[in-house]
Subunit: 196 residues, 2 copies
């Protein structure tokens, strides 16, 4: 990753990630990815000798990385954990509504389909979740949470967000996200170890 990688490669990964998020991994054919990216079949196999599985892992890594960056940015802006969560879910709801609830989590669907069948994709997903968790944990620590409580709380936040996103997509409504965010914020505010 030292060199900025081929432009064509980036186009392919982005197209793949977009499609995987909407239709899932198995539901998306190489044909779709090729059509969406304007690339040729052999070109894909040049950049991804491992075929579909390799581009799947790359898509998970890339899409997950964007979310990691968003988390990091918001974690810098937020005044406290609950504020962080509210800022993020505000964005989330915007994205969801803009796509009419078609774009869900960019990695969950793919991971549920391919874990543990594809070790490469599973590993990519584990790495992404670890990154997310690290950002959250660091944010909680920065706001005074003791380490032994920051780690499990970070996991619970990610779980709640993922579950809420899924429910929102199926229900076609942002309500599950609001409800879950409220609950998580109550938890974060109640659990604030040192007030203010």
């Amino acid at each position: 990753m030292a060199p900025p990688k081929s432009k064509q490669r980036q186009i392919l990964v982005r197209a793949a990630a977009k499609l995987f998020r909407r239709q899932g991994y198995s539901g998306t054919g190489l044909r779709d990815i090729l059509a969406a990216s304007g690339a040729a079949r052999g070109s894909l196999y040049h950049h991804f000798p491992g075929g579909k599985e390799e581009i799947g892992a790359a898509a998970v890594t890339a899409a997950g990385g964007l979310v990691t960056e968003t988390f990091a940015e918001l974690s810098r802006q937020a005044h406290d954990p609950a504020d962080f969560l509210r800022r993020y879910t505000r964005l989330l709801v915007q994205w969801l509504e803009a796509s009419k609830f078609r774009d869900g989590c960019p990695i969950t669907t793919t991971l549920l389909e391919t874990t543990p069948g594809s070790p490469a994709i599973t590993a990519a997903g584990q790495a992404v979740f670890a990154d997310w968790h690290a950002v959250m944990e660091a944010m909680l620590a920065r706001h005074g949470w003791p380490p032994e409580r920051a780690a499990p709380t970070a996991t619970a936040i990610i779980a709640g967000l993922e579950g809420a996103l899924m429910l929102a997509r199926v229900r076609g409504s942002a309500q599950p996200i609001h409800d879950t965010t409220d609950a998580l914020c109550a938890l974060l505010e109640a659990g604030l170890p040192t007030a203010g």
Copy 2:
């Protein structure tokens, strides 16, 4: 559903549900379902004239119904909401470990792949989630939660469970479930409106 439906039909639905849960909807071919159930090709189209989509919806309904029954049973046994949650996640972890983290939520994967592309499957999923929510909400109400707080809390519980289940599967560990359960229990115990 007045008659107990054909036995073969039930075998088909069960096999389909099992496969969808592990490999997803698109990742499971009719071929797999037929092989797993021992049925013949045309037999499937006799019981499910709507083809794969119809058996997908039936699998979601059937698998979701089993979970609803489990929720209802546990909700009868539990002393309070936190106790309910702990009882359920104990079962959940047992199932997960027994399948070596291959069997996740029986409906989430299918729904993420097919929402909103398949209205029939989406509707089946919405109905299942509504059932789960109703059971949870009733349980909270029975333990003194006011209605306006029971509904969003029930949603947050389901979201947390679903997200934790997904993380557990990807990580190959029950830890996310324990962490999320602890957080949710803290919320339920803190939020208990009338103590005892």
